[in-house]
């Protein structure tokens, strides 16, 4: 294996060795959401005419799991190895900043997709899935995971302690995912909050992903693709710049 492939493999191995915590636990959490919200709201909320609430909820929960776990993987790996000092083993190598980027983002996409797939498989017991436009499902799953993995990389480089990382995760990532239309269609919101939701890039990831299942969404999947794609390129440019300059890791 080449250098970046080894780092990619090592990062996969890292989360896989603690897969109860990194894969099984988030799957269980998502399924609990489905059970509770699905049970309480199934007969009260109708989002799309022909789709039950539980079925509507599944893609949102899958995407939420993908996003949160892709972020958690790169960010926690970096902050842990920074604080424990073991990042030095990678810093001493000839790996380029591109190698770092591909390995950390790639392995975090794998973790996000592994958890997302786990959630989807378990939810098959509760709702029959549709696959109106499967390609959109794949595209948004990959792009969403990549965007959050890259954000996690930036957060991992920036944070000096676990407290800062927890703040970033709990006060930015979690609210943005919860307020992006996981549990509802933003069409059901008052006009002001609809406008606010359109400023949240997470909304476009979940909306585009959901379009892949139902062929129906709050906004055009092409617009969602453009916004999510642009956001990923922008944060990637920042992440690569930080890695190239050794921001907070080579001084």
């Amino acid at each position: 294996m080449t250098g970046w492939q080894t780092l990619f493999y090592k990062e996969i191995l890292r989360f896989w060795k603690v897969s109860f915590q990194t894969v099984a636990a988030p799957v269980l959490t998502a399924v609990l959401y489905l059970l509770i919200f699905g049970h309480v709201l199934e007969d009260h909320v109708k989002v799309y005419d022909r789709i039950g609430y539980t079925a509507f909820l599944v893609p949102g929960l899958v995407m939420m799991s993908i996003l949160q776990n892709a972020f958690a993987n790169s960010s926690s790996s970096l902050i842990q190895s920074k604080i424990m000092g073991s990042l030095v083993f990678v810093l001493l190598t000839p790996l380029s900043h591109w190698g770092w980027f591909v390995a950390y983002v790639g392995s975090s996409i794998v973790r996000g997709l592994a958890v997302g797939l786990g959630v989807f498989v378990v939810t098959l017991a509760f709702a029959r899935p549709e696959f109106a436009a499967p390609l959109w499902i794949v595209v948004f799953a990959l792009l969403g995971a990549a965007l959050l993995a890259t954000l996690g990389l930036i957060a991992g480089l920036w944070a000096d302690k676990f407290d800062q990382m927890a703040a970033f995760q709990n006060f930015v990532i979690v609210p943005m995912t919860f307020l992006s239309g996981v549990f509802y269609s933003i069409q059901s919101l008052p006009p002001f909050w609809q406008t606010v939701s359109h400023l949240n890039p997470f909304f476009y990831m979940i909306d585009g992903f959901r379009y892949g299942f139902f062929g129906q969404s709050d906004t055009s999947p092409w617009l969602s693709l453009a916004i999510v794609g642009f956001a990923w390129l922008a944060v990637s440019a920042l992440a690569v710049h930080l890695l190239r300059t050794g921001y907070k890791i080579r001084n």
Partner: protein, 316 residues
């Protein structure tokens, strides 16, 4: 071409209290095949210099070349030639020893490295720990793994940053035998240590760093034998259980019961002995010896023998 060339290296850290200059124009060359010692008190900038060499920090001024490769502009080539044993006892808790070594090999693009990994494990006394998780190892064992990790890609230059700090005698001996053998095979070794007897025994050339008003500077650069020859005077060494008179106490280096008093000439030795007799200090195992590297180091750091100590191309 030198194995390592530090050229006017400066480093300023930006801290909450303002800028802090750690290194001030450090220049020195380490030749191929040398066992080179970098000595200095805490805060002199040894680890900063090593960090710049290894790519863990960036120099504010000057440059560092590893066999001609610049550590910044040609970092990949430079890092392939270096095997660095970091000072901190760090490890990745997710892996066992063999996994850690295989992963480290992979970072350098070295494939199918098990034969060399086995040799490293054998030579460092780690063969029976290959499948142990890093968390289960003692401090000394973790230190051995750090050495093995630095050597997985067979680097021509080995950098050891205080590798024997806080480790037992057995490991020190195992480690030095192994590193000395690698040096004989042609590897260049750069060592920083606080154990000056180790440096004296192992290093054929030594640089001493000292923190000046504007950061760490090279204050001595010479072969070990030149340094020892250049040291002035002798050392009066003895054991005692009694406190020294104040006039001698300020001059003496005391380690438990062992007292070492520097003396420029025979008259000063007589003067020390007279002072001990007058004070009624009961001494045992009295001897007069040549200064060792620790005496030279103390002389250089106190500035008492700057005129005698060779500085190479570096001026005070």
């Amino acid at each position: 071409m030198p194995a390592v060339s530090f050229q006017s290296v400066s480093k300023t850290f930006h801290t909450a209290k303002g800028p802090f200059q750690a290194l001030d124009g450090v220049s020195l060359d380490i030749e191929e095949g040398e066992f080179f010692g970098l000595l200095g008190p805490n805060g002199a900038g040894k680890t900063t210099l090593i960090s710049i060499l290894a790519g863990l920090a960036r120099a504010t001024g000057g440059r560092v070349l590893v066999q001609g490769s610049d550590v910044q502009s040609d970092y990949a080539a430079a890092r392939r030639k270096l095997g660095v044993v970091p000072q901190e006892l760090v490890f990745d808790p997710f892996f066992n020893v063999r996994e850690a070594l295989r992963i480290q090999s992979g970072y350098f693009g070295v494939k199918n490295n098990d034969a060399w990994i086995d040799e490293l494990l054998e030579n460092l006394g780690l063969a029976d720990k290959a499948t142990s998780n890093m968390r289960q190892l003692s401090g000394g064992m973790k230190r051995r793994v750090l050495v093995a990790q630095a050597l997985v890609h067979k680097p021509p230059i080995i950098v050891l940053d205080e590798p024997t700090a806080g480790v037992d005698v057995e490991l020190r001996q195992t480690l030095w035998q192994f590193v000395a053998r690698l040096n004989k095979q042609g590897h260049t070794v750069l060592l920083t240590t606080h154990y000056l007897e180790e440096a004296e025994a192992l290093c054929n050339r030594i640089a001493m760093l000292k923190r000046g008003s504007s950061g760490g500077q090279v204050v001595a650069l010479a072969t070990t034998s030149e340094l020892l020859q250049a040291a002035s005077g002798s050392v009066l060494q003895f054991k005692t259980d009694v406190a020294l008179p104040p006039a001698l106490a300020v001059l003496a280096r005391v380690t438990g019961r062992i007292v070492q008093l520097p003396a420029q000439d025979a008259a000063e030795i007589e003067s020390h002995l007279a002072a001990l007799r007058v004070a009624g200090v009961d001494v045992h195992d009295l001897e007069i010896r040549r200064p060792d590297l620790e005496d030279v180091f103390l002389q250089v750091m106190s500035g008492t023998s700057a005129s005698n100590i060779p500085l190479g191309e570096v001026a005070l």
